[in-house]
């Protein structure tokens, strides 16, 4: 049974493996940090958040300062889909951001129906029109 942990990552409860939600690629043990099975690239922040004001004229341009901030992009080694983007000061250790109790997860889902796709939650219902 697959559990949709993020929009790009699933856990297969039978094999206890992280998988790419996009292509099914095996990413690693669900008991370990999923990032270990992904590829990572460091980006200068202005490659994403480009200056809106002329960077030759101004100190503050809407682009983050590379001495303060770098952007790490994590993608699936097979299909290249972005699974996570992390903003960090240069050299700061990446977070082990999702660490689940896999035994508890299996027990929880033993009582649940498998899902075909992630549950989005209730639809927005506009309040009745009145004036």
């Amino acid at each position: 049974m697959k559990v949709f942990i993020t929009s790009m990552l699933t856990i297969d409860l039978d094999s206890e493996r992280w998988e790419c939600a996009s292509c099914g690629h095996d990413i690693g043990s669900a008991r370990d940090n999923y990032k270990k099975g992904l590829l990572v690239r460091e980006r200068e922040p202005s490659e994403i958040h480009a200056p809106i004001l002329d960077a030759k004229e101004y100190e503050f341009t809407f682009a983050p300062d590379p001495d303060w901030c770098r952007i790490l992009e994590y993608c699936c080694p097979n299909c290249g889909h972005l699974a996570e983007v992390e903003y960090l000061p240069p050299g700061h250790p990446p977070a082990h951001d999702i660490e689940l109790d896999i035994d508890a997860l299996k027990a929880q889902w033993a009582k649940r129906e498998p899902l075909e796709k992630p549950a989005l939650g209730p639809d927005f219902v506009a309040p009745p029109h009145s004036h």
Binding site: M8, F62, D65
Partner: protein, 748 residues
Amino acid sequence: MGDDMDIGGASSSAVEDFLKETSLYLAPDPEIMENHGLEPRTAYEDQCIAKANDPVRLEIVRERILAGVNESFEMLENMGAAPGAKWGDCVSAVYTASGDLSLASSGGVVIFCNLVQYPIKFINKYWAGDATVGIKEGDVFIVNDARYGQAHNTDQSMMMPVFHDGRIVAWAGATVHEGENGAIEPGGMPSLAEQIWDEGLKMSPFKVAENYKLRRDLVTFLQNSVREPKLQYADMKVKMYVCRRIETRIHEAIAEYGVEAVVAALRMNLEDTDAEVRRRLSEWPDGTTRHAWWTDGTLRENVQIKINLALTKKGDELTFDYRGSSPEFTNRSNNSLDITVKGMLAQLFLTFIWPDIPRNQGVLAPMKFVFDNPSVLKPAFGTPNAQSMMTVFTAWSAGQVCAMKFLYSNPKKYTRVLAPWFNMINTFLFGGLTQHGEMVGNVCADINGMGGGALADRDGEHGCAPIFATMSDIGEQEFIEEEMPFIQIVSKKMMRDNQGFGRQRGGMGYQMVLAMRDSPAFGFMLTAMGAKFPNIPGLFGGYGCPTYPLSRVSGVDVFDILVKDPGSFRYSIEELMNERPFKGAKYTTHPMTLGYTLAKRGELYMISQGTGGGFGDPLDRKPEDVIRDLDEDLISHDVAWRIYRVVYDRDTLHVDTEATEEAREAMRRERIAKSKPFDAFCEGWVKDKPSGKVPYYGSWDDRSMVHAGSPDALHPAGQVNPPVIMPHPLQVKIDRLEAELAAARKKA
């Protein structure tokens, strides 16, 4: 006497009474302030619940009282004189006799009333039995000192006991973000505060009205202490009558349903909420999610400040562990009290995760909080906290990210998973003399225009609502201009490319281009982070917001220009700053941390509201959605290609679907080619301490040790010695200039 000295057993209360009577100063009581949970049921509540426990009937009573509270909130919004009241930065609520928040108004700011539980508990504990104070029917109490329980000192709350047959059966409360409070800067949120004494009014909970009448001597004292004496008086009257309306509605409910039903409804509302929250938490996976974020300043200097969160969910409990966050800044105002963090997180659950849960403090009962003590999120008693938003909003967003990582897998959701909401107060504060000769000091309602985060299947909403109040208003600009001597020449116009990119993009923020006119003395100030390091990330492969500067054009009077040469004006920050249309004017950029600065007629002050975070990989965004944003001038051709890789005809905006898919596949291949496996990447990337290029505060890899400004100033968390004391920024500048001067003299 001998028995009394025995601390054990029944005689301990005699010792407590003795200590209470002989205390020289009744500071905030840690026993009250450390407990965000529910008070135990009283014997009277037990009796009432024994008599009135039909859940259907209690729900009817609850709805009846809530209708009264909502009515009182309408009064507060419509009659309140403070800008904050007019635009929804206020709230009214009912508390149990013990002081627990049981029913907040459906509109308004939940954190405000969540924190009013503390002063009510203080009043119950210290003033009820005090012969010089006491609590009688018709009394009203007031508070604004955050350390006794307020979100920050710019808010003022009034509290009224509701009696029935001589017994307190509930409390009514009303809170408004009043703004002005006599601090060192106008507007109530002084970034210049270096001591708590620079923060203005320090109202511990005290009685300000008897027999439903304000004591004019006390009102005069308060008016005498602030820049807006009329506002102070007007809103005290408004809040008192709001409490009175709640009292009336509770008395009516008692007359109709009986006092037992009312007391039971208020108590069971809390217990039922606690139980339902535990049930919902049980649906989450067990485990820990982690998220660290950095704010980039104290409002006086740019420094990197870590907010570190590990959120652990086990069974039906949730623990927010903020250890490893920055040490406190003992002479800066950007510290946040822990009660403020907790109150904000109540708001996270009550508005963003379980909006269908009754708005009361039962939501926090199954949650625990851990902080280093002292630290930037739990400062010592004497440390300023007037600009707590600079750290509490980041702590809130860290909570939002961590919660979403638990929530996505849940088959049953009560609202949708959301990328981070924009979280910083990108708005102008103002103060001075108006065109009507009134002295004012306050904040623009654009504070409420934060961009919403993207959802899994929908883009975020533009300029939607602040994280602290989902139902608030950004105000009518024309109405504001009738009262204030400044014009927003560009107002509510989205800032192009200011977007949280993603499969679904964040809701964007709009531009504000201001110029002052018609006042001999009027100024602006800004108190926002995020000019160096962005304020929020995206979610699941989406990107966060960019950074935000203040742009200024000085040495010009644009009102003259608009008369003489209107065609030269440009209606966006981008064009005004990049095209520099006014000859002889000075164009500069700054962080959004402007100390109170007197404005000259017609000079431009320009900022942008922030964007919410994006959701998912931008290469998965539907090309037609990219084209729609392009067509609406929300993004440039550069972003359409560089971020979204959409190929189209620039004249017709017709998408070449095949070429787009090819370009996107090529970019995914490029990602793979330019990336490394995680472990290999970390070998090159991870350093064992901060670079030293930027002053750094907080933990690095080990949360038990925190840096206090430099790579080598490393201390055990909570034991930073010497404590962080920042030098005066002007002194730093003088020292640097004197050193340069000395060097130049030596050369000459």
